[in-house]
């Protein structure tokens, strides 16, 4: 039994999502190979070789993989994946994009967003916005899986796997990259932040998020948002936490001016400690909060900032 893990990276650096997917692979058991597909991604391969438990790193270094286009990556992973018992990727927007394509080409199901490994063929995954957890058994010869990274702890970097180039690049030739507008932030990414402070519609506008940023900087926190805050244009889409945004599980999650709709809870209710600050005592967010503060955020947040 050998497991293929698809690395998540930006051609320069490996993302910690990969450390977590390797942890899920280790829970399944067997040898673990990592595929790094990108362009000029040698440094990423070196990093992947250090992941504990990995025996081999395969590098597909070709211009057609530079932007992780699903059409090209899907073909590569389906082709390479034939020789494996399991193919795993992070349930990130990259993994969700190409992996179902590979599964369909292999004529097998995909198991999305696993949060637990019970055995080599049985896994747990949430559905209905996390209001139910299904234990599913796969009868496919190749198990294609995306991993909810917030549910697994990163593996260490004590390994020294071999690195091998592979050279069967196929450009499907039906799609191309045009441009990207990526958010640059000094603060930790939501996926790896130890503390997250999120704002909702109660923040009233984008400028007011500066109040949360000041608190975040004191706590070394990432800043998130509800869908309402993103839809209203207060902050960019990549800050959305929830069923259809990012799923996070930090040590501390502070929800400010967020009511606690099921779709928002789906993205943060596995956080270790939850704090809610809301002026409405009936807000459903208080039902999942370890510590609730009924207050006007425009008073509470400046006070919190000055006292930290």
């Amino acid at each position: 039994m050998t497991i293929l893990v698809i690395a998540e990276h930006n051609n320069d650096a490996l993302k910690t999502d990969t450390h977590k997917v390797v942890a899920a692979a280790a829970a399944i058991g067997g040898d673990i190979d990592v595929l790094v597909a990108g362009a000029n991604c040698g440094a990423v391969a070196e990093q992947a070789a250090k992941l504990t438990g990995v025996s081999k790193v395969l590098v597909a270094d070709n211009a057609c993989y530079e932007h992780q286009l699903a059409e090209n990556l899907g073909l590569l992973v389906a082709d390479l994946g034939k020789g494996y018992s399991h193919i795993l990727a992070a349930a990130s927007t990259t993994g969700k994009n190409f992996l179902p394509r590979s599964a369909a080409l292999l004529d097998v199901a995909q198991i999305s967003d696993i949060i637990r490994v019970d055995s080599a063929d049985t896994f747990a995954r949430p559905f209905y916005a996390g209001n139910a957890i299904a234990t599913v058994k796969s009868n496919d010869s190749i198990k294609v899986i995306t991993v909810r990274t917030s549910a697994f702890d990163s593996v260490e970097e004590t390994g020294s796997a071999s690195v091998e180039s592979i050279d069967n690049a196929q450009d499907a030739g039906i799609s191309s990259y045009v441009r990207s507008e990526l958010t640059v932030s000094e603060r930790p990414e939501l996926g790896s932040a130890r503390v997250i402070i999120s704002g909702g519609r109660g923040m009233q506008n984008g400028d007011n998020f500066k109040m949360l940023e000041e608190v975040a900087d004191k706590l070394g926190a990432g800043v998130g948002a509800s869908r309402a805050a993103v839809d209203a244009g207060f902050v960019p889409n990549d800050m959305q936490v929830g069923q259809t945004g990012k799923i996070v599980a930090p040590e501390l999650y502070v929800a400010v001016g967020i009511s606690g709709a099921i779709q928002h809870l789906a993205g943060m209710k596995d956080s270790k400690v939850i704090v809610a600050i809301n002026k409405d005592p009936e807000a459903p967010i208080f039902q999942v909060a370890d510590f609730g503060l009924e207050a006007d955020l425009f008073e509470a947040i400046p006070e919190l900032n000055s006292k930290l």
């Binding site: 969700k96 889409n237 259809t244 939850i274 704090v275």
Partner: protein, 249 residues
């Protein structure tokens, strides 16, 4: 050009489902059912492309039990021209859905398949990508903007780090994200008109697709409940609790 819009009947997004006491599934009896919100956004986008003169016909297709005709009617009331129902009680999984949709694509030859990025019941986020693979079409997933330009379509995608724009050869599959548009409300005259629009009914057998689900659901459980928290009276007390009780700051 034709646009095909696959839609799913799901439990309404405002409803919190409960797990059945025998842990075999969730209990959907007597719950309000609706069109999956992402599919509704897909219908809206297709109708807007038609109104802009880019598309000539919008076809809504749903796979499921007879009742999913209600959601096809919703799509028709929003402006789709005709419907196709593929009738089955078998609850097919995404790969089987994608195989049936691929047959419909074969028959209808749409230039764009516009669908939801995710169903809010299964939370799979797979079907569009699978359909694209099976039909060898490019895909623009999690779209927040769609611009058709000649024989190509530019799709801006919502990704973890921000936004990425790709150009796809037509025909292509596009899956919608929440901010692509805000669906309209169907007007009463349009609801009445929708009643006269045709819905063709087919079966998986007629399409030549055998529904074989390779995932067995062994059990369904409630997630672990969080233990009840406390209300604090002041910011000072909150800081104190976080420092000494929870030890997280």
């Amino acid at each position: 050009m034709k646009i095909l819009v696959p839609i799913k009947r799901v439990v309404d997004y405002n409803v919190k489902v409960r797990v059945k006491s025998d842990n075999t599934d969730v209990d959907l009896s007597n719950l309000k059912m609706s069109i999956n919100p992402f599919c509704e956004i897909a219908v809206e986008e297709a109708v807007r492309l038609k109104e802009a003169g880019v598309a000539s016909e919008v076809i809504a297709v749903s796979i499921g039990e007879k009742a999913c005709q209600e959601q096809i009617r919703t799509a028709l009331a929003l402006g789709a021209d005709r419907g196709i129902q593929i009738e089955t009680d078998a609850q097919p999984q995404p790969l089987a859905i994608a195989k049936m949709l691929a047959k419909v694509v074969d028959a209808e030859q749409p230039q764009i398949v516009l669908m939801g990025k995710q169903t809010i019941d299964g939370d799979n986020n797979q079907t569009g990508q699978m359909l694209a693979a099976l039909t060898n079409m490019p895909q623009g997933t999690f779209a927040s903007e769609v611009k058709v330009d000649g024989d190509k379509v530019e799709v801006t995608r919502e990704v973890d780090g921000g936004l990425v724009t790709v150009a796809l050869n037509l025909p292509a599959v596009i899956t919608t994200d929440l901010r692509l548009n805000e669906p309209r409300y169907a007007s009463l005259p349009n609801i009445m008109k929708a009643k006269r629009k045709p819905i063709a009914v087919q079966t998986p057998e007629e399409l030549g697709v055998e529904i074989s689900n390779s995932l067995d659901v062994l059990k369904v459980e409630e997630p672990a409940a969080r233990s009840a928290g406390v209300m604090v009276e002041s910011v000072d007390e909150l800081i104190e609790k976080l420092r000494t009780t929870a030890k997280v700051i």
